[in-house]
C-alpha cells in the first residue's frame, strides 16, 4: 500500500529527537570520566533504570514485529512476547546482583573478575561485538523500512537519520544520554500502547466495512465472474498452470485474479505485479493515487461474530478474547508467481479462519511445525523458546545497564520495574495485534505496519504519534547496542586486552571514537542489508548470546571449579557453534543464500537447544582438565 506522509509524524519525531539531542549535548560536557561515560557514574535511580531497561529492550522487532505477526497469523506472535519476557526471570534471579557485584563497566569485567585473564577479555569482547552486530543490523534495516511508509523518506535516509542521531547521543554523553533516550522511549511506548488498548476495548468488534476499506467478495459463482459481459478468461498456462487462480480481463483491459474455492465458487484476491521494467501494478492498475491508478485495498475484518451479531459494542479485557475465539476472521495468504517474461505477481488471497484456529500455537508458518508428528520439527520451536528464555540475560546491551545503578539492591529493584513495564507491554501486544487483525486498515504487503495502521483506524493524529514513537523505538535500542560495542572495544579490548595505557580522559575519547566507528558501521550494514529479510537476525542474536555467554556466566556464579580456560573455551565454542549452526540451517539456506532449504545440513534452524548444553559441557570438561593450573578462589571478589 502507498502510505501518505504525515507531517505531524515528522514533527513529533523531530521534537523527540531534538529533545534527546539537546539533553545529550547539555550533559556531554559533564561526562568526562570513564565511569561517567560507561556507567553514568553509577548514579541512575533504580526506577529510571527500570524504565530504561524497557526502552533498551523493547526494540522495533518487539513492537512492530510481534504486533504484525499476531495481526497476520494470530496467537503465534505472542509466543515471542512470552519468551522475551520470561528471559527477564533469568536476569533477575540469576544474573542481576552478581553482575553488579562483580563488574564495573562491561560484561567481560564480571566474567574476568576472579581470573584477570586476557583470554576471557578477548573472548567476551568478541562475543559482545558479534551479538551487538547481529542485533544492530535488523534495527538499522528496520529504521530504513519504517521511514518510507511512516515519514515518507527513502530507506537510506531512515538508516542515516537513526545512525547519526544515535551516534551523537552516545558520543556526547555516553550512558547518561543513552539512559534518557531509553527512559523517554520506554515510557512513551508503554503508555501509548495502553491508551490504544483501552480505545480498542471501547470500540469492540464489527463486521461492517471500515472507512477506506471494503470486504472482499467471496463465494461468488464461477459463472457470475467468467460470464460477465466483456470479460475474457486468460488461459491457465505457463507459471499460472496448476495454480488455484482464475485470471479475467475486463472490457477496460484490467486483469483481475480470483481464487478457486469449493463448490464452483470464487473469492476475490488482491495482486501486486512487478513488471520487467520495475513498474508496478496494484490489482491490475498502475500503482499510484492519481487518475487511472490504483492501490491495494486495506483489509482486516471479522466476517462472523458470535451469535451472528453485526457489532459487539464495548468488550471487557477477557471478553475480547472469547469474542475472537468464537468469530471468523479473514486472514490473508499469498503466493508469488513469476512468469516467463520476468513479471512477478504476488497474489494475496482470503483465508477465512475460525478464531479457535488462530488463537492457539501453530497458526503461523514459523511455528506450524509444532503440530507436526515429527520430533525434530518440534525441536525447532522448543529451541527458539529456550533461546528467548536464556538469551535476554546474556545480551550485552542489557547487561551493561546493571552498572549504571549504585548497588545490588538498586539492580534488583530496577529489574523488577523493568519486568513490570515490559510485562505490561507484552500483554498489550496480544490486544494490539488482534485489534489490528480486525481494524480494516491492514496492509497485506507489510505486517510491520500493522500497529501504526491500527492507530490510524482511530484517527490520523494517533497514527502520527505512534509512527513517530515506532521510529524512535529504534533510537533507544540502537544507542544501547552502540554503548555495549564501544565499551567492548575501548574498555575490554584496548585497555584490558591490549594493555594500552590510558587515563580516564583518553579512555573516554577512545570509547567515543569506537562509538562513532560502530555507528558508521551500523549505517553501512543497514544500507547493505536493506533488501534482505532480517527479522530472524534478532532470534539469531538471542541464540548466539545465550550459547556464548550464559554457560560462562552461570557456571562462574554457581560452580567453584570453573577455570579461566573453561570460561574462554565455553564462550568461544558457544559462539562459534551457534553461529555455524545458524549459517548451515534451513532458514539461512532459504533467507540468506536463496537455495533449497531441504538440503540444509543441520536438522532444525534454532541452535540453542544443542549449543547451550554444549557450552556448559565444554566449560565443565575444560575446567576439569585445567583445574590444577588455576588456583581456586573461594567466594566472590569485589571489582
Amino acid at each position: 500500500m502507498i502510505h501518505e506522509t504525515s507531517i505531524t509524524a515528522v514533527l513529533v519525531f523531530l521534537f523527540f529527537a531534538g529533545t534527546v539531542l539537546a539533553i545529550s549535548f547539555y550533559l556531554g560536557a559533564k561526562a568526562k570520566s570513564a565511569k561517567g561515560y560507561f556507567a553514568a557514574g553509577g548514579h541512575i535511580p533504580w526506577f529510571v533504570n527500570g524504565i530504561a531497561f524497557a526502552g533498551d529492550y523493547l526494540s522495533a522487532a518487539s513492537f512492530l514485529g510481534i504486533c504484525g505477526m499476531i495481526a497476520f497469523f494470530g496467537y503465534d506472535g505472542f509466543l515471542y512476547s512470552i519468551g522475551y519476557l520470561a528471559g527477564w526471570i533469568v536476569a533477575l534471579f540469576i544474573v542481576a546482583e552478581p553482575l553488579k557485584r562483580l563488574g564495573r563497566y562491561t560484561f567481560a569485567d564480571a566474567l574476568d573478575n576472579r581470573f584477570n585473564s586476557r583470554g576471557i577479555k578477548l573472548a567476551a569482547a568478541i562475543s559482545t561485538l558479534v551479538v551487538s552486530c547481529f542485533y544492530l543490523i535488523p534495527q538499522m534495516v528496520g529504521a530504513g523500512a519504517l521511514i518510507q511508509p511512516l515519514l515518507g523518506f527513502p530507506h537510506y535516509v531512515g538508516v542515516l537519520v537513526v545512525g547519526t542521531v544515535v551516534t551523537l547521543i552516545v558520543v556526547t554523553a555516553g550512558m547518561v544520554s543513552t539512559t534518557w533516550v531509553q527512559f523517554i522511549k520506554g515510557s512513551l511506548l508503554v503508555c501509548l500502547c495502553l491508551f490504544i488498548t483501552v480505545l480498542l476495548l471501547m470500540r469492540g468488534f464489527s463486521t461492517a466495512d471500515k472507512e477506506g476499506s471494503r470486504q472482499m467478495r467471496a463465494g461468488v459463482p464461477v459463472a457470475e465472474v467468467t460470464g460477465a459481459p466483456g470479460v475474457q478468461v486468460l488461459p491457465a498456462e505457463g507459471a499460472w498452470a496448476d495454480k488455484p487462480f482464475v485470471r479475467v480481463r475486463d472490457d477496460k483491459g484490467i486483469v483481475k485474479v480470483w481464487k478457486k474455492e469449493a463448490g464452483d465458487t470464487l473469492s476475490e484476491t488482491q495482486t501486486l505485479t512487478v513488471l520487467k521494467d520495475g513498474s508496478k501494478l496494484a490489482n491490475g492498475l498502475p500503482r499510484g493515487k492519481g487518475e487511472g491508478q490504483g492501490d491495494l485495498v486495506p483489509v482486516g475484518y471479522a466476517s462472523k461474530l458470535p451469535g451472528g451479531v453485526k457489532e459487539t459494542g464495548p468488550v471487557g479485557p477477557f471478553e475480547f478474547f472469547t469474542t475472537m475465539q468464537d468469530s471468523e476472521v479473514i486472514l490473508w495468504g499469498n503466493q508469488k508467481i513469476v512468469d516467463a517474461e520476468g513479471t512477478t505477481t504476488t497474489v494475496y488471497f482470503q483465508k477465512p479462519t475460525e478464531g479457535k484456529a488462530f488463537m492457539a500455537p501453530g497458526s503461523s508458518p514459523t511455528f506450524s511445525k509444532v503440530k507436526s508428528e515429527k520430533f525434530s520439527d518440534k525441536l525447532d520451536f522448543l529451541s527458539l523458546m529456550l533461546a528467548l528464555f536464556c538469551g535476554t540475560a546474556s545480551l550485552p546491551h542489557i547487561l551493561i545497564r546493571y552498572y549504571t545503578v549504585k548497588d545490588q539492591v538498586s539492580a534488583r529493584k530496577s529489574t523488577v520495574v523493568g519486568i513490570a513495564a515490559i510485562g505490561v507491554f507484552y500483554i498489550l501486544t496480544l490486544y494490539l495485534g488482534l485489534g489490528a487483525m480486525t481494524s480494516g486498515t491492514l496492509d497485506v504487503t507489510d505486517s510491520n505496519m500493522s500497529a501504526p495502521l491500527l492507530a490510524k483506524s482511530f484517527n490520523s493524529f494517533l497514527f502520527a504519534v505512534l509512527s513517530a514513537v515506532a521510529f524512535t523505538t529504534v533510537l533507544g535500542t540502537v544507542s544501547g547496542l552502540i554503548m555495549a560495542a564501544s565499551g567492548a572495544v575501548a574498555h575490554d579490548l584496548m585497555t584490558n586486552f591490549l594493555k594500552i595505557p590510558m587515563d580516564d580522559v583518553k579512555k573516554v575519547r577512545s570509547a567515543k571514537i569506537a562509538a562513532a566507528c560502530v555507528g558508521c558501521l551500523a549505517m553501512v550494514l543497514g544500507i547493505l542489508f536493506a533488501k534482505m529479510n532480517v527479522n530472524f537476525l534478532v532470534g539469531w542474536a538471542f541464540n548466539i548470546a545465550a550459547s556464548a555467554n550464559l554457560p560462562a556466566l552461570a557456571m562462574l556464579l554457581f560452580w567453584r571449579g570453573t577455570t579461566k580456560q573453561g570460561i574462554t573455551a565455553a564462550i568461544t565454542v558457544g559462539m562459534l557453534s551457534s553461529l555455524g549452526w545458524i549459517l548451515l540451517s534451513a532458514q539461512a539456506y532459504k533467507d540468506v543464500y536463496g537455495i533449497d532449504p531441504t538440503t540444509a545440513i543441520v536438522p532444525f534452524s534454532q541452535p540453542a537447544i544443542v549449543t547451550i548444553p554444549l557450552g556448559f559441557a565444554v566449560l565443565v570438561i575444560v575446567s576439569l582438565l585445567t583445574k590444577k593450573s588455576t588456583p581456586a578462589v573461594a567466594g566472590t571478589a569485589s571489582a
Binding site: G41, H43, S81, A173, Q325, K356, G423, G635
Partner: protein
Amino acid sequence: MGGLDFKPGAPQEEEDEAIVRYNTRLGVYLFIAYVAFYGGFMAMSAFWPEVIGSPWLGGVNMSVLYGFALIVVAIMLALLYQKLSRKPGDGGAK
C-alpha cells in the same frame, strides 16, 4: 532523582556474605519454580497443542490464559523476590 545527569552521591556498597548467600539461594528457588512453569507451557504447546488451544476458565483459551499467567507470574515472583530478599543492614541468615 537528582538532576538530568543523575548526580546524587552514591555511597560505597557494603558486602555481607550471608546476605549474598541468602539472596542467591532465594533467587535460585524462585528461578526453578518459574522454569517449571515455563517448561510446562513449552511442553503443552509442543506436544499437546489441541489441549492448550481449547477453552478454559471463563471460555478463554488455555493458550491465552497460560501465556498471560507466565507474564503475570513473572511480575509477581519479581515482587516476591523483592519482598523476601535481604539488603545490607538486614542481618545474615534467619
